[in-house]
C-alpha cells in the first residue's frame, strides 16, 4: 500500500485535520511522511504601493518564520505518533505547484490535503488548490474536510 505520504498544510484549522488524518494513516500503514508548506512569491502577495512598505527581504523573513512554525507543529505531531517525518518549505511557488513538485522530488505515492485552506469560500466548495493538485497531478489525493 502507500509507502510515502505527502501531507500539505498551510497551517489553517482545516489543514490541521489533514495533518492528523495523514499521520494517522501513515502510522496504520507503516508509511513515511513528508510534510510540505508552500509560500507564494512576494510579487503574488504584495502589489502596488504596499510593495514600498513591505520589501522583499522582510516578506521572505516572515514567510520563512511562518513556514518553519507550521512545519515544526507537524514534526511534533509526527514524533508523538512515533513516525518519521521530513519537512519541506517550498518557497516562491503557488501552493498546488509547490505541493506537486515536492511530491515528485520526494517520491511520494499519496498526497493528503484539506478540501480548502485559508481562502475557503465556503464548506460547500472545493478549494482551488485542491482542484489543481487533482487535475495537474497523477498521484492519488486524499481530500479531508
Amino acid at each position: 500500500m502507500y509507502k510515502h505520504i505527502l501531507i500539505a498544510t498551510d497551517g489553517s484549522e482545516l489543514a490541521g485535520k489533514a495533518v492528523a488524518a495523514g499521520i494517522d494513516l501513515a502510522r496504520s500503514l507503516g508509511a513515511k511522511v513528508t510534510a510540505v508548506t508552500v509560500t507564494e512569491p512576494w510579487t503574488a502577495i504584495v502589489t502596488g504601493e504596499a510593495a514600498f512598505g513591505f520589501p522583499v527581504e522582510e516578506y521572505e523573513k516572515s514567510a520563512n518564520e511562518t513556514a518553519s512554525g507550521i512545519l515544526a507543529g507537524v514534526s511534533t505531531l509526527a514524533r508523538m505518533a512515533d513516525i518519521g517525518c521530513a519537512t519541506v518549505h517550498a518557497k516562491d511557488q503557488y501552493p498546488s505547484e509547490g505541493i506537486l513538485d515536492t511530491a515528485k522530488k520526494s517520491g511520494c505515492d499519496l498526497i493528503v490535503m484539506a478540501s480548502h485552506g485559508r481562502r475557503g469560500l465556503g464548506r460547500l466548495l472545493l478549494g482551488s488548490e485542491a482542484v489543481k493538485v487533482l487535475t495537474h497531478g497523477t498521484l492519488p489525493v486524499l481530500i479531508c474536510r
Binding site: M1, D24, S115, L126, V131, L134, R145
Partner: protein
C-alpha cells in the same frame, strides 16, 4: 482511523484503479469495504412525459443486469485481493448523489473514487462525478488516477 470504506465504480477502466487501491487500502488497514455502483433514472427532463413504459422496463432490466455484472467483477477482484466486501447497486440516482447516499446508508467514513469514469473528456480533467462527490461529501474522499 477509518473504519468503513466506500469504493465507487462504474466498471470503467479508470475506476478500476480506485477499486484496486481501495481494496488494497482496506486490506492494509483491516477495515470493512462496501463497493457501490449507481445507475441513473430512465426518464427526466423533457422525456419524462413520453409514454414509454415498456422502454422504461427494458432500461431497468438492462441497468440491473449491467450493475450485477459490474459488481460480480468487483467480487472477483476482492477475492483475488483477499478482502471481503459488500456490494450495492443504487438505482434511479445520479452518480454523485447515489454514491453519497450509499456512504451515508452504510456509515462509511471514507469514499474512494476514480478521477473520472466512463464519460471522459480528457485524462487531464477531473470527471464531473468525482468533482461533485468531492463537493457534496461530508466525509473524506480519496481520488485515484
Amino acid at each position: 482511523m477509518y473504519k468503513h470504506l466506500l469504493i465507487a465504480t462504474d466498471g470503467s477502466q479508470a475506476s478500476a484503479k480506485a477499486l484496486a487501491q481501495g481494496l488494497a487500502l482496506a486490506k492494509a488497514l483491516a477495515i470493512q469495504v462496501t463497493v457501490v455502483t449507481v445507475t441513473e433514472p430512465w426518464s427526466h427532463g423533457a422525456y419524462a412525459t413520453m409514454p414509454t413504459p415498456s422502454m422504461a422496463q427494458v432500461y431497468e432490466k438492462a441497468a440491473a443486469g449491467n450493475a450485477a455484472s459490474i459488481l460480480e467483477n468487483v467480487k472477483r477482484a476482492a477475492d483475488e485481493a483477499g478482502t471481503a466486501c459488500q456490494t450495492r447497486h443504487i438505482k434511479d440516482q445520479h452518480a454523485p448523489e447515489g454514491i453519497i447516499k450509499a456512504a451515508k446508508d452504510a456509515g462509511c467514513d471514507l469514499i474512494i473514487v476514480g478521477s473520472h469514469g466512463r464519460g471522459t473528456l480528457s485524462r487531464l480533467l477531473l470527471g464531473s462525478t468525482s468533482l461533485k462527490v468531492l463537493t457534496l461529501s461530508p466525509v473524506t474522499v480519496l481520488v485515484c488516477r
